[in-house]
Amino acid sequence: MLDPLILSRVQFALHIGFHYIFPPMTIGVSLFLVILEGMYLFTKNKIYENLTRFWVKIFGLIFALGVATGIVNVFAFGTNWAEFSHFVGDVFGALLGAEGVFAFTMESGFLGILLFGWDRVGPKMHFFSTCMVAFGAHFSATWIVFANSWMQTPSGYQIVGEGLDRHCVLTEFWKAVFNPSSLTRLGHVLLGCWLTGVFLVLSVAAYYILKKRHLEYGRKLIKIALIVGAVCILLQTWSADSSGRAAATFQPAKLAALEGVYKTEAYSPFYLFGWSSAKNKKTYGVKIPGILSLLVHHKLSEPVLGLDQIPEEDWPVVTPMFQTYRWMIYMWGWMFIMLIWAWVQNYRKKLENSKWLLRILMFTILAPLSANITGWFSAELGRQPWVVYGLMRTKDALSQSITGGQVLGSLIMFVCIFSLLLVLFLFLLNQKIQYGPEDKEHAVDPYRDPYQGREGSSERKSPKGTAT
């Protein structure tokens, strides 16, 4: 009745998807922390110091959510996907182990200094900690993407055993780490993360300028974010192109599904928008013939491999993928246009008066966030029906001992927890943004003791409770 497979897949998509809201923001913001604190050390300008402190607080909040939601992922392989864990453990475990030992500990260790060490270590040591946290965040993402890429394009392994004992054994570590899609996918993911940081910063800065608050701070942020953003969006364009072509080479079924190509024919079209129906084996919509061939093979007439060349049992879930993939591209377009618009207005020195530009910029943070999620869905749905491409099907990866009821229970738990977390996160993020980056010596301290002053005994006022 309750299918543990479907429920487990929904649950995995839910907690990975929810988790994936946060790490791209931490990675993106960590880049800005390094830039801002570096600028502070270089110029000794108080504004940069305040900006760093401000973003560190936001970083702390996002990081906490990222860790809290990320812990689920480690255990989920064992709880719901025990057969998968056994099958890939020999290879996959080494990659995740490296992530844990090299990256995650570094990140969490230095985070303490980054958040609380302002008065405990010198400015240079603090900057060093900031760099280590940023490096840890990036390095962590690196191992995770490599492990995931191994699931997409496995290499450096060998299969041993029969039946329930069938599993992969590592033969060449570096070949498994640098499997064919590792580097392309890593670039694509990191650029997505940096763009998320750029637009988070732009969004906050646009808000301040619109409200005519913290103007000096807003201007500095916009200037830096526009430069980083321009570099990232151009690199992302290039990275997207190579990712697509890597998919065409190593996972042709994925590319065919992303583009809704059912027939292998010359002048393969690119759909601007439309609807792909796996049932009718047809894609409806507005198309430009030859563009897909041009993108994939750099030649208009060269046919792109269609789903007709692939057995139907190996088809990914085409209908949703076609949409998530297109959404990602639209979001890229939105970001591109916003950056050009902002650059032009900035060049004409009219940025601060362009009300509409600032208003839209405020909401453009939704573009990278949704692009990250839809991109991830496209990549993972495109790997189906395999959990490890070509080696193990998703339906064989499920734990044998779990029941639908158990998974439903945990799924409901996650839905409740995550809804609560999302509301709280937005609430506190807003509070921090409203508080702003400026020094407020006389302002109300949000961290004040609520009991202080009201009950006001000398014992409660003294910070260390020395009175008896």
Binding site: F77, T79, G97, G100, T105, M132, L170, Q406, M413, L421
Partner: protein, 341 residues
């Protein structure tokens, strides 16, 4: 390097990580359980900020245990977490709530807001400790799994006299460890209040530890067989008793730092005893004619284990170095400033 050596080595690594988890995250879980005993908001903030800069790094050790099992003993990883599905999910729920409670608690001045998070923080710390206790107890006392590691029991298979005593001991251990840590980090009135708690906590821990030892001796004969075969290993039991006595003595003399070290030593020897008693099994099976999951049938290949050895050899010195630096930076009594929780 030969496979058997690597398997032994990785078994030790898992237990070392477990020890690091219990000795480090143990005290901040203990502080969490004690949180509601603090008498006012300032005291609660002192408690919270005593663990503020370190709790996140500490909880990484639980991930290392999970990741270490995944890498070194994939079959054990798969079996443990799919068998203990419900407990793991409750554990995860606890970890999420705890992380969030620490982060959010002091963010708003409202009394209702803080009290709610205080309760959640304390409750989730307790839930995490209990779940960890039951999972560890289940592993060493055995659960019904077949030769492929597929769980054949039900939720009630995890609860019996031994596992309940084990979970209680874990909670008592963490509370005691947390108390000694807080005593080290506070002064004046706050510390005096903690002192009142310390000895009863310690006494309760020793009581449950003795009960646990007795029930292991009489109810879990497989755990003591190695000690019957090699009586000299009972030295560790002696050391465990010695550490407990040292703990009582230092608490009696009001030496917090020393008490914390003795408390860590009790944890160390407790895990040494568990590791020895359970060896070479990782998950015992209670079904007849099934070996259960051992380090021999669950381990990764020789190649992977050698790579893991290299990763650990390179990585762990760094981890120790910055953990040490972190604790050094935040040594001394807690001070609340504008960056605190």
């Amino acid at each position: 390097m030969n496979l058997i050596f690597l398997q032994y080595f990785w078994y030790c690594i898992i237990y070392v990580a477990l020890f690091a988890f219990a000795a480090l995250d143990g005290f901040d879980l203990g502080v969490g359980i004690l949180h509601l005993t603090a008498r006012n908001d300032n005291e609660r903030r002192l408690y919270l900020n005593a663990i503020g800069p370190v709790w996140d790094g500490n909880s990484v050790w639980l991930i290392i245990v999970g990741g270490g099992l995944f890498a070194g003993f994939p079959l054990a990883f798969a079996t443990i977490f799919s068998s203990f599905y419900n407990l793991t999910m409750i554990l995860i729920g606890g970890i999420i709530f705890r992380a969030v409670a620490i982060e959010f608690r002091s963010k708003r001045p409202s009394k209702l807001w803080r009290t709610t998070w205080d309760c959640l923080f304390s409750f989730s710390s307790l839930v995490i400790s209990i779940c960890v206790g039951f999972i560890l107890a289940g592993l060493i006392s055995g659960i019904p799994i077949d030769q492929y590691g597929v769980f054949k029991g039900s939720f009630s298979s995890f609860f019996n006299f031994f596992t309940i005593i084990f979970a209680v001991t874990v909670v008592a251990l963490f509370v005691m460890h947390g108390t000694t840590f807080l005593m080290m980090k506070t002064e004046g009135d706050v510390r005096k209040n903690l002192q009142r708690w310390a000895l009863p906590c310690c006494a309760f821990f020793i009581l449950s530890l003795s009960l646990l030892t007795l029930s292991a001796w009489f109810l879990q004969p497989h755990l003591v067989s190695i000690f019957r075969a090699h009586p000299w290993l009972l030295t560790f039991a002696g050391l465990e008793a010695l550490a407990s006595l040292g703990l009582i003595r230092s608490l009696y003399h009001n030496q917090a730092g020393r008490a914390f070290l003795w408390s860590s030593a009790t944890i160390l020897f407790l895990f040494v005893l568990c590791a020895l008693g359970n060896f070479p099994s990782i998950i015992r099976s209670t079904l007849n004619n099934v070996d259960g999951i051992t380090i021999y049938n669950a381990s990764s290949s020789q190649k992977t284990l050698s790579i893991l050895l290299i990763i650990v050899a390179i990585g762990i010195p760094f981890v120790l170095a910055y953990t040490f630096w972190l604790y050094k930076t935040f040594r001394g009594k807690v001070v609340i400033d504008s960056h605190s929780y």
